[in-house]
């Protein structure tokens, strides 16, 4: 009897009103780690259900964007002269891949609480897993597209080098950035849906400000330092340099990593502070 009593005390929970900043409950997050896989596999499986092409869409989408951007920016705007011996197609594709991962992860993380509101209002679990789980399904798309990019590179005579092993590091940085911003937005969108629209405009606008479909050389030397303050610039630049063996811009990467950490920390704290109200305001 004493055994069971101590056993029960081990699981004691005290519920009381919480105010102010609340620490992230890491042990609880770890206890519910199964949710990461549960939510991720759900999103991946549901993604291309009842489509004829299935996962081929993950390869087709970046290819189609690449064709469009190459025609408009490469040929019509004449930017293809700026990329040297590297074909414009490769430069664009190496920009689209990390960018669509970022945009997808940010969009999904931002809208994740609303998308999962039926669970949020009915059962308790660490809410953080909801935005955190929104990274996985985009990662699958990214890997498929990366494979296509490798094929395309080889077609143009570029062979992936050992430095490709740094891709996971870049992707981790992008993941932290997107989920950090995504957490902040999700906690706001859950209450005020307008910010869902705002988020989609911000990402569209942001894409034009980032050298995704054009090379960074388009921006004149005088103003290029401004790009360092774009948290995505360092990652996209780094990604291109790794794959296409161009010189690295370490300063911009340094800034990007800083922004990632900043947004991740702010996101975590803000999310944890307001999560207790989600079920009431959603």
């Amino acid at each position: 009897m004493n055994d069971s009593a101590t056993d029960l005390r081990k699981h004691r929970t005290v519920i009381r009103p919480r105010t102010g900043w609340i620490p992230v409950r890491w042990h609880e997050l770890w206890h519910y780690r199964g949710l990461l896989w549960a939510f991720t596999s759900r999103d991946i499986k549901v993604r291309y259900k009842q489509t004829l092409l299935g996962f081929s869409w993950a390869a087709l989408q970046p290819i189609m964007s690449m064709v469009v951007f190459t025609v408009i920016f490469g040929k019509l705007a004449g930017f293809d002269s700026l990329t040297g011996d590297v074909p414009y197609q490769l430069v664009v594709m190496a920009g689209i891949l990390p960018w669509s991962f970022f945009q997808g992860a940010l969009g999904r993380a931002g809208n994740s609480l609303v998308a999962n509101q039926s669970i949020v209002t009915k059962v308790y679990f660490p809410r953080l897993w909801i935005p955190l789980s929104s990274l996985g399904s985009g990662m699958v798309d990214f890997l498929i597209a990366l494979f296509v990019l490798f094929l395309l590179m080889m077609y143009y005579g570029f062979y992936p080098s050992v430095s490709s092993l740094l891709i996971p590091v870049v992707m981790l940085g992008i993941a932290c950035l997107s989920v950090g911003i995504g957490m902040i937005f999700s906690a706001i969108i859950v209450k005020v849906r307008d910010f869902g629209m705002v988020l989609s405009y911000i990402t569209t606008f942001w894409m034009y400000l980032t050298p995704v479909m054009y090379p960074a050389e388009v921006v004149s030397e005088k103003w290029r330092w401004l790009l360092d303050f774009n948290p995505m610039y360092g990652y996209i630049n780094c990604f291109r340099s790794i794959l296409l063996e161009q010189p690295m811009n370490w300063i911009s990467l340094f800034y990007s990593v800083g922004f990632s950490i900043l947004f991740l920390v702010v996101g975590l704290f803000y999310f944890t502070r307001v999560e207790k109200n989600f079920a009431d305001v959603v």
């Binding site: 009593a5 029960l8 699981h11 596999s41 499986k45 549901v46 209002t121 308790y124």
Partner: protein, 423 residues
């Protein structure tokens, strides 16, 4: 030991509420209104206390029913206990792992197969993958969906869907289980199975908190009940005692309901309800009725617009929510002729030796059938209790045990023997 200890818990909600023109508090909108001359609206927050100072203590192994009318605060209480939302004040101590089942199939994804949903739902409810794996076969067998495990659940019948969802939740093994009205779904056989499972959970020494509108289920499952009204605890004790006070509270005066102000009384511009009363043969209002004696339901209403054929009708439910029967006034004199202005009183007489023992809830309506129009329908407007004093001359005879059923008529029995010897 105490498993759930609730001390002075209250919950406040902010309700949005639109005011217009003169009562604007937003100075910007007020200015804009003055400038444009157009009347404006704004939303004003209003406080609403869903729970007020609720305290109780639940011991290990207790199965407790939470009852109360819609809006009494039952769901809010469950949401706080299952940590979905924070209380505004107070403190709760839970000693043990808690699982809450506030909805059947939380997180089910229609696109995923039965198998995939078992894992997903299990993870959301807090089970580890290993735990789900070890119970997988048991869950599938309980839900009776073996053949459809690899079919997306959107192709399931609603019965299959509910069975699978309940099965996953029923195989959780928490020390404290919080359940909200999930048994209201599924067919009768499955409901029975669920009830069995719930009783089993209680017998294993685990603590169960159960919300339902079905008094039959509550009284069968629980040994204790807590009655909430307007956010506060109004009764807490042995289940039958609490159910009785709920039924009396739910029906206002019990055997007699009346509306003094005809403007707020149920009804429309044709007719309004004045009063409903349960009475005995000698016209005395009575809450308790002898099973042998007839009982009358007297409906008084006022006709405000002449020229309509108005037929009162009564709807009878037992305490388990079973629809016992309906009776329509289509036999009395002139009942099929249009009614003139005035006050009318109609009484439906239920003969003695028809209803079973227990509580009967009565709904009263006034209907025009051609073309069909319901002028008012008041549910659970009065209630009465049928009592058998077991004198031996009722349908019960000399048997003193449990006699289920909605009706208990005295039937004529004939017995003949075709083979064998008479004693």
């Amino acid at each position: 030991m105490s498993m759930i200890k609730v001390e002075g818990v209250s919950k406040k909600y902010q309700l949005g509420h639109i005011v217009s023109s003169k009562n604007l508090t937003n100075p910007f909108k007020r200015g804009l209104q003055r400038l444009t001359g157009r009347s404006m609206q704004e939303e004003v927050a209003e406080e609403f206390w869903a729970l007020r100072n609720v305290s109780f203590d639940i011991q290990q192994g207790e199965v407790v029913g939470i009852i109360g009318k819609n809006g009494a605060g039952k769901s809010t209480l469950l949401k706080i206990l299952s940590r979905i939302t924070d209380p505004s004040t107070g403190r709760i101590e839970l000693n043990g792992r808690v699982s809450s089942l506030l909805e059947v199939g939380t997180g089910f994804n229609p696109e995923l197969t039965g198998r995939e949903n078992i894992y997903l739902n299990g993870a959301i409810l807090g089970m580890s993958r290993k735990e789900i794996q070890s119970k997988f076969d048991e869950i599938v067998a309980f839900a009776e969906v073996e053949k459809f495990l690899d079919t997306p659940v959107k192709r399931y019948s609603s019965g299959m869907y509910v069975r699978l969802a309940f099965a996953v939740a029923a195989h959780l093994e928490p020390e404290i289980l919080i359940v909200d009205e999930v048994l209201a779904v599924g067919d009768a056989t499955f409901q029975k199975k669920c009830m069995g499972k719930m009783q089993e959970v209680g017998k294993q020494g685990r603590t169960v908190l159960f919300v339902s509108h079905n008094m039959g289920t509550i009284s069968r499952l629980c040994n204790r009940a807590i009655l909430l009204n307007q956010g506060g605890v109004v009764a807490d004790g042995p289940v039958h005692h609490v159910i009785k006070s709920y039924l009396q509270e739910g029906t206002g005066t019990g055997a007699w309901a009346r509306w003094d102000d005809s403007a707020t009384a149920p009804g429309d511009d044709v007719a309004r309800l004045l009063s409903v009363r349960v009475c005995s043969e000698d016209g005395i209002t009575s809450e308790r009725v002898d099973i042998h004696k007839p009982v009358g339901i007297e409906v008084e209403y006022e006709v405000l617009k002449s020229g309509h054929v108005l037929q009162p009708n009564c709807h009878f439910f037992n305490s388990e929510g079973v629809y016992a029967f309906i009776s329509i006034d289509n036999k009395s004199e002139h009942c099929d002729l249009p009614k003139e202005l005035g006050r009318y009183k109609s009484t439906a007489w239920i003969p003695g030796n028809l209803l079973a023992e227990g509580t009967m809830l009565v709904g009263v309506a006034l209907t025009t059938f051609e073309p069909q129009c319901v002028h008012f329908y008041e549910q659970d407007v009065v209630a009465f209790e049928v009592v058998d004093n077991a004198s031996g001359d009722s349908a019960r005879g000399d048997y003193h045990g449990d006699l289920p059923g909605v009706v208990r008529p005295q039937l004529v029995w004939e017995t003949s023997v075709s083979q064998g010897k008479r004693p």
